[in-house]
Every structure is written in C-alpha cells, then in structure tokens.
Symmetry: C2
Subunit: 222 residues, 2 copies
Amino acid sequence: MASQTEENYLKSLFLLANSKGEINLTDLSKMLEISIPTANSMVNKLHEKGLLNYEKYKPLVLTAKGKKEAALIIRKHRLTEMYLVEIMGFGWEQVHEIAEQIEHINSNAFFDRMDELLSFPTIDPHGSPIPDKNGKISWKSYDKLSECKAGQTVKLAALTHSSSDFLKFLNSKGLSLGLKLKIHSIEAFDKSMIVSYHNHKQEQFSQMVSERLLVETTNPNL
Amino acid sequence: MASQTEENYLKSLFLLANSKGEINLTDLSKMLEISIPTANSMVNKLHEKGLLNYEKYKPLVLTAKGKKEAALIIRKHRLTEMYLVEIMGFGWEQVHEIAEQIEHINSNAFFDRMDELLSFPTIDPHGSPIPDKNGKISWKSYDKLSECKAGQTVKLAALTHSSSDFLKFLNSKGLSLGLKLKIHSIEAFDKSMIVSYHNHKQEQFSQMVSERLLVETTNPNL
DNA sequence: ATAATATGTTAGACGTTTCTAACTTTAATT
DNA sequence: AATTAAAGTTAGAAACGTCTAACATATTAT
Ligand SMILES: [Mn+2]
Ligand SMILES: [Mn+2]
Ligand SMILES: [Mn+2]
Ligand SMILES: [Mn+2]
C-alpha cells in the first residue's frame, strides 16, 4: 500500500511522537535527512491519505490508521533485528542497517516465520518492544540507570539510543541485556557511577552512558 | 549503485540471453510486464551506463560489466531461495516472490552469512546454479527427461521452469530434486512417459511435464 | 515487389520524491 | 511593541520510471 518512502516517514513520525511530545517539520526533516519543503510535501500527502492529522503551522499527529501502519513497520524492523542476532548470529551493532531495508519486504509469511522461529519475541536485541500483529505495543517502564541510587542492584533491560558506536562501546565494556549491575557509588560532581557486574569488578560509567541505559529495579515488594 | 528497477532489467536481460539467443525489446517488455517504450528508454539508459551494448533496431546484448552485475543479483536471488527453503522451512513453490524482493537488499554481510549457514551451496531449490561472488556460473549440462529412452534410470536434477503452479503439481506427484526416476515406457503418439520412483510404482508424465524436468543420466562409463 | 505485420522509436505527459530560492507566519528577544 | 530569529509554505525545477499516441523501420507473406 504505502511506498517505501511513505513507510519511512510513518516510522519516523511514530518514533518521534514517542520520544518527544509535539513533532514539527524540522524534527522530521532532520530525522530523515531531507529538506523541510520535502518533508512538508510528504506531510500533506500523508494527510490526504488519512494517515496524519495536520493543519498548517500546527504540530504533526498520526491518526489511528497512521499509527497502526507505523507500528507494523516497526514490528517488521524489530523482528528482523531479533532474527539477525538470534538466528543468523549478527552482533546487535550490525543489524539496524539491514533491518532498515528488510522492514519494507511485503510478505506476511516471511515475517510470521521469523516470529515463529524466534518463539514470538516481545523485545528486540536492544530491549525495545516488538509491536504485535495488530500494531499494539506493550510498554514496559524502565528506569534510567542515571536515576538510580548508590547501593542498588539493577538489571540492564534496554537502551534509549542504539547507535552502532554506542553498541560497540557497550561491547568493549562487556555489557549486554540481562546483566545485573551493582551501583557502588555516584560521584556528586559529574554523576559518574562506579558499578560492578559479571567479570567486571569496577567500571566507571559517565552520565552520558548511564542516561542511555534502562534498567529494571528488582523490586523487593513483589 | 543500480536502482531496484535497473537491477530487475539487468536480471531479465541476463536470463533471457541464457534461454533465447537474441533478445529484443518485445521479449524484455513482456518479461517485465512493462510497455515497449518504457523498456526502450531503460535500454538507452543501460547503454549509456555501459551495461548494455545497443544500437537502434539491433538485438540487446549485455556488456561484461552488465553480465556481472546481473549475475550478482541472481546470486542474491538464488541464495535467498535456498535459505528460505533450507533454513526457514518454506516450500520451493513459496520462495520466488520473497526472493524477488530480498535480492535487492544491499548488504554483503547478510548474503555472506546466508551462504555460510547454507555451507556455500552451488544450486538453488529448483536446481539452478548459484553464481559465485565474482558472478561466474558453473553450468552443468542436464538432459530433458523428454529426451531420454525407455529403460533408462535417471536422477531428477533441475527444472526448466519454476512457476508456482508447476511446483505445486510436482509436490502433488511427490517429486523432488535428487529422486531417481525409472522410465518404463514412452507412448509413441503423444510422447507421454510411464515412470516409477520412490513410493510411486507408476506415474504417467505428459510431454509438457517431461520437457520441464532436467535429469542426470547415471553414466556407466564414469 | 508490394503489402501487411511485427517491431522499434519519438514525443509528450504524469506521479513520485527530491531539491533551492523566495516568501510568510509564528515564536522569542530586546 | 518592535525587531529578530525560527519555523513553515509556496513556486518552480529536476531525475526517475512509467504510460499512450503517433510515427518509422524491419521482417514476413502474398
Ligand atoms: Mn533498529
Ligand atoms: Mn527503512
Ligand atoms: Mn526464483
Ligand atoms: Mn526483483
């Protein structure tokens, strides 16, 4: 239905809406690395197709239909990333570029089979939720490591950013999802943390890093 | 480099050249289901790009560069088909449509990994050769079953056509590549054959069928 | 050899997606 | 409130891939 280009716009609109409140043309054009007038003309087109609510000079808001289409593309993207890591043996830093292309493949059977071979995963290799076949996402609320206290033990659950460079950095520190992290101390001045985890007695994470790590706090009340 | 559209043209030109002698615009436009003027304009473009030798009103002939590019796309197509069948469990009648899309994915790592997981296959699920990374194809010469004699025992090695309908027909007859076929008799009038094979004591193949089956004759001289 | 048919080319148009340049509206500063 | 800056819109153009209609060339049949 939607062209590859339209799909990329929908996906960006969806992702932007979930990280910022109101989306404007400037955000969209930056994310897609296109000029503002180009974004403007596509926005008009998506509006005419009933995928986006839009009035001149007002923020961009996906319709229910637009949100669902977007979520289904993100589903294909994240299923693909999971497949590439779990079945094909790629590193989590290698899969985004490939998934960016495969997400546009038109074949239910193909993605259903991936899903099956992965035993119906709910998160991708970076801890982001995989929307279900109806485009529904079950959001889990994680805490940023940077907002935890000294003494806490937490589990690394997801990432706020998944650039290849950041993922390579995490590899170099022996970090992967699911690891238990113990927070030993937090430097008041720069908020850097001293943490320990499997095979790592003492590592220092700058705030830049701890802000990008999402953790589950093992709640003693449950 | 080449767009998805250009890639599909190159592939068609390559495949046509290997099944007919001289290719003309009409053949090309039929294969791609586009109008003749559209094919004509793309032919001019490919010529300008040095992928096709072309003079007005003359047959279409790929250059060495064009042939190599085409072979590498066919490599991706056939590797994908093999992967879908062998690793993902699809039937040989289901994979062409998906491969038609995945062949345009730009990622050496992705196809190299498929290749590796398949242990570097040389034929696809329909018995067609997979070009190597340099675009070289090692052609094997098979015989059409229709040209074999009564009494011969041969091995089903490949197909001349792989339409989904034909593949479903073969499924219904319990036929797959590698099967040994014994030719019991050939009806002189319509060239239909009575053959037997694993779990099938007696099946009749019309000439329409036997022409589409390529076999290896187990040569007693070797 | 002429006529009929098949094949190929050119011209002109359209939808998509992109751009830059010029202009307008809204938001932020002073 | 007036000015400046940021954000958004419009106009006009280009490349790509497609089409139909009209015309030209090559091949085949009579
Ligand atoms: Mn990704
Ligand atoms: Mn994409
Ligand atoms: Mn195929
Ligand atoms: Mn294709």
